[in-house]
């Protein structure tokens, strides 16, 4: 079954016509049909397998600076027309008359090949992954007292039609595992976490060893049992390959989204062509990165995904764009118009965001750092795009003393300012790696994103620990 079969193009043409009847300048129908599976293991038991079905259409109508939006789970002609009329009424009060739309199907743009579709894989096979994870984590040490693991997958088909005549479809396949481990020691409990996720099919588990992942989560919890309180104050920080891309996503990626730029809500406004980072830094957002968590064939406005250079050798080259912002500026979209589901309006979002390799040997970066903190895993974070201020959780970190990694540190936040961090990157490794799959939240919507970077050093960040 494909989305094309759910709603016929000629019906979409009629619905778009109805959406334009009150004088809209642009109308769009976004249709989604998603089947998902989740399985959770906790406390040694498969607690529950969940099957989900989400299917519906979101219709928006733009007139002037106003967007009207309505969504419906009713994909019949009556349901779609009712949503189209609601969106039209929300966008404008005028009358425009009939509007004829002729759709042209766009060629498919698939970036992640899929061998085994997850909805064709037995639930037994999915649940078995979790049992293997549990066994591997628990056999990592007697101090491991609790393991929880989650498996999730989705097969989502989307279809977008708009009054420019675009008709585009895509199929997006994702599956991931998440592992949380608790270890208990003399000084209380500690936690470890690992995850993996790809936009390939279920064959991703031929390449990713979930037991290895589980042992790594367990190792992290065990190591932290002897951790000392993190230091407090400002110091050099070395971030391990593939564990700090999220920092660039938060600390500067969001500030390069054209919707924030337009409202003056970004420190990067008006800085195109200027040196905004250390000349070592080239920052890219790439929706075409095959198999990665943020990879998409087309964005949720039907525009093919792209490789977009945002910062090149420290110079700001371009922002990221969706339809609405590109239309205002009279320029091309960049494949960054995304939405959580058919119930949401699209906006400018990142895909896979990463810093390209530099020239340093990662071991030399450590050797050249007399005193500081080495971060092996960053947790979630938060940024204020208007000021650039951000915080991040350090979920695995160590002291650096005399150029060597020494003691593990307890969890804490680190704090800095995005534009300042970009300038303060003074050593960049040659060992690029992508990081864990992420969910980026903006304005109440979550979308899957990837990130990556080589090992690098930031001259000064504030470590929010309790030790002197």
């Amino acid at each position: 079954m494909s989305v094309q079969d759910v709603v016929e193009p000629d019906l979409l043409e009629r619905v778009l016509g109805a959406a334009m009847r009150t004088g809209g300048e642009f109308a769009e129908v976004f249709i989604e049909d998603k089947r998902s599976t989740m399985a959770g293991l906790d406390d040694g038991r498969i607690e529950q397998v969940t099957s989900g079905r989400d299917r519906g259409a979101g219709i928006r109508v733009i007139k002037g600076d106003t967007t009207g939006f309505a969504h419906t789970a009713d994909l019949s002609e009556a349901g779609l027309r009712a949503a189209a009329e609601a969106a039209a009424a929300a966008a404008s009060q005028g009358t425009g008359g009939a509007n004829v739309v002729a759709l042209t199907r766009q060629p498919e743009h698939r970036v992640s090949p899929v061998e085994r579709y997850n909805d064709e894989v037995s639930k037994t096979e999915k649940v078995a992954l979790l049992q293997r994870i549990d066994d591997a984590a628990r056999s990592s040490g007697a101090a491991i007292v609790q393991v929880s693991a989650g498996y999730g997958d989705a097969r989502k088909r989307i279809m977008i039609a708009n009054t420019h005549g675009l008709l585009a479809t895509d199929e997006q396949v994702r599956q991931n595992v998440r592992i949380s481990v608790v270890a208990n020691g003399d000084a209380g409990m500690q936690t470890g976490f690992q995850s993996a996720g790809h936009t390939f099919g279920f064959e991703m588990f031929d390449k990713i060893d979930v037991e290895e992942l589980a042992r790594d989560a367990a190792r992290q919890a065990l190591v932290k049992l002897t951790a000392r309180p993190a230091p407090s104050g400002t110091m050099p920080v070395v971030i391990k390959r593939g564990s700090g891309g999220v920092l660039f996503h938060e600390a500067c990626g969001h500030g390069l989204e054209a919707d924030l730029i337009a409202k003056g809500g970004s420190v990067f406004r008006g800085k195109t062509g200027e040196l905004v980072a250390s000349p070592l830094v080239t920052l890219v957002d790439d929706g075409t990165m095959s198999g990665e968590w943020g990879a998409i064939g087309i964005d949720d406005e039907g525009h093919p995904s792209q490789y977009n250079v945002l910062i090149e050798d420290g110079v700001l080259t371009d922002y990221m764009w969706d339809y609405l912002r590109a239309r205002k500026e009279g320029r091309e979209q960049s494949g960054n118009g995304r939405r959580q589901s058919y119930m949401h309006l699209p906006m400018v979002r990142m895909t896979n965001t990463f810093v390209l390799d530099g020239n340093e040997d990662p071991d030399d970066i450590l050797r050249n750092t007399e005193h500081g903190v080495f971060i092996a895993q960053l947790g979630g974070g938060q940024v204020n795009t208007a000021t650039g201020d951000f915080v991040f959780g350090m979920t695995e970190a160590y002291l650096i003393e005399d150029g060597e990694i020494t003691e593990p540190l307890r969890d804490g936040n680190l704090l800095g300012n995005g534009p300042q961090v970009l300038r303060d990157i003074d050593l960049l490794g040659n060992d690029f790696a992508m990081g864990n799959p992420g969910t980026c939240g903006k304005d109440g919507q979550g979308v899957p994103v990837g990130d990556g970077q080589p090992t690098l050093r930031v001259k000064a960040l504030t470590i929010g620990g309790t030790a002197a």
């Binding site: 906790d42 038991r45 498969i46 607690e47 529950q48 397998v49 969940t50 099957s51 989900g52 079905r53 989400d54 299917r55 600076d65 967007t67 009207g68 939006f69 789970a73 609601a86 969106a87 929300a90 966008a91 639930k123 037994t124 649940v127 007292v145 609790q146 608790v182 209380g188 409990m189 500690q190 936690t191 993190a230 407090s232 104050g233 400002t234 409202k263 003056g264 420190v267 119930m343 309006l345 947790g379 979630g380 974070g381 938060q382 208007a386 000021t387 201020d389 915080v391 959780g393 307890r410 969890d411 804490g412 936040n413 704090l415 300012n417 504030t462 470590i463 929010g464 620990g465 309790t466």
Partner: protein
């Protein structure tokens, strides 16, 4: 909304009637209608009118649980969901405590959760409210810009039915306005927000929301980065509410049963300063999250969790209660039709003290009034107890608030902070969160800055 709760109850009943011998079935059916208006520079930037409905079905057989949901309510979809949930049962591990809630003799305390005034409110007036909020905010200070001004409302109807005889419906609506601001001074920009919530728009205080949004942004202009030190902090009511949200996860009975709470073996022991009494009371009509029912359909009730610093009890659903050999405290939480109920506090409140914030500050020689925090979810580990958040606020010097400070963290551990509570204010603020705000003084935290 069409149909109403009776239609939803009928769907839930039909599902439960299809239960096979030896099977326990729970059906949760809901329908939400939302309006979302965003104003920018006096014009409607977007207007969203949306209706969402769906069904979630849980099937338990021989201690194994399966679940499925769909975001549609037509008959064939509901049948498919039941079949999927049933199919999923075979993959669950038998769990002797698995089961559905049963009526426990606790009667519902009725709440006024529905406003006809809101249901009848016109679209034009909703748009006008958001425009008015933008105008009021811009008028507060020439340095203020408005990022956006929003009006939103939601009306929800739901029904639950189980083979154990639970059969309940609920209906509630509510609305809020929120405005995001930026304040500019030379090269510097700071941000703020202000909001007002109500069962109906008649309860809004737009002027207060505008002033708070303005103050939050302008008060940080010219802020400096403080030096690293140990200090005493006064948490603004809004920050205390967020802090209580973190504490609540340590009092979660399911985390306790699974050995994941740092208070798991501490019942009856002193876990906080003796001035700390923490109550979860969704039957208090002042609470934003006041409710009649928990996520399993049991009556919501008042529970004292920490009394005079002594840990009295954890919060439980029927499942976590069975595991530890106690009764449900009516604290099952359901996020919607897409999941099964978890456990959580519903409406936390610290028993207030006697003095206002100004009096609390007057006693402090050197400290910080914390007015905003960031990274509560990334820098706080509720299992180890490590606490570290980014913060901004005002310096306190010799009993007076002084200049603004930002770009620092405050850190301690949850265990220590509860013991280090020095005083609780009398300024209880019923915020749109699962915890009420009140000023809170905590000593001996590490401030990490320059």
């Amino acid at each position: 909304m069409s149909g109403g709760v009776d239609e939803l109850q009928a769907i839930a009943d039909r599902v439960v009637a299809m239960a096979q011998p030896g099977e326990h079935v729970e059906a949760f059916v809901s329908r939400d209608a939302e309006t979302d208006v965003r104003i920018y520079e006096g014009e409607v930037e977007h207007f969203v009118a949306a209706q969402t409905e769906g069904v979630g079905i849980r099937v338990i057989r021989d201690g194994r649980t399966g679940f499925a949901y769909a975001g549609v309510l037509d008959e064939s979809a509901v049948a498919e969901v039941l079949a999927e949930a049933r199919d999923n049962v075979q993959f669950g591990t038998p769990d002797e405590w698995a089961g559905l809630a049963e009526f426990d003799g606790v009667d519902v305390i009725e709440q006024e959760l529905w406003s006809d005034a809101l249901a009848d409110y016109s679209t034009d007036r909703k748009i006008e409210l958001a425009k008015e909020l933008e105008r009021l905010t811009l008028a507060t200070d020439p340095r203020i810009r408005v990022d956006d001004a929003n009006y939103a409302d939601v009306a929800s109807e739901s029904a639950v039915a189980t083979t154990t005889g639970i059969r309940r419906t609920g209906r509630e609506n509510g609305c809020y306005v929120v405005v995001s601001t930026m304040a500019d001074d030379a090269d510097e920009t700071q941000t703020g927000f202000g909001f007002s919530v109500g069962r109906s728009p008649d309860e809004f205080d737009l002027a207060k929301a505008a002033q708070e949004a303005s103050d939050r942004a302008t008060r940080l202009l010219g802020a400096t980065k403080p030096k690293t030190k140990r200090t005493t902090v006064v948490l603004d009511p809004y920050i205390t509410a967020s802090f209580l949200g973190v504490i609540s996860s340590t009092l979660n009975g399911e985390s306790v049963a699974k050995g994941r709470s740092l208070f798991k073996d501490r019942l009856g022991e002193g876990v906080a300063n003796s001035i700390v009494t923490l109550v979860d009371d969704p039957t208090n009509p002042k609470a934003y999250t006041a409710t009649e029912l928990d996520g399993e359909g049991l009556a919501a009730r008042r529970n004292v969790l920490i009394d005079g610093g002594v840990l009295q009890q954890f919060v439980h659903s029927s499942y976590s209660a069975r595991r530890v050999g106690t009764r449900s405290t009516g604290n099952a939480i359901r996020g919607g039709f897409k999941g099964t109920p978890g456990v959580g506090c519903l409406a936390l409140q610290l028993l207030p003290g006697t003095r206002d914030q100004q009096a609390l500050i007057a006693d402090i020689d050197d400290g910080v009034l914390v007015q905003s925090v960031s990274g509560l979810h990334s820098g706080v580990n509720a299992i180890s107890g490590d606490f570290s958040v980014g913060a901004s606020g005002l310096q306190i010097t010799k009993g007076q608030v002084a200049g603004p400070i930002r770009e620092f963290t405050i850190a301690s551990t949850l265990q220590r902070m509860l013991h280090d509570v020095v005083e609780i204010g009398n300024d209880v603020d019923w915020l749109p969160m699962r915890a009420a705000g009140v000023s809170l003084v905590i000593r001996d935290v590490t401030l990490s800055g320059a």
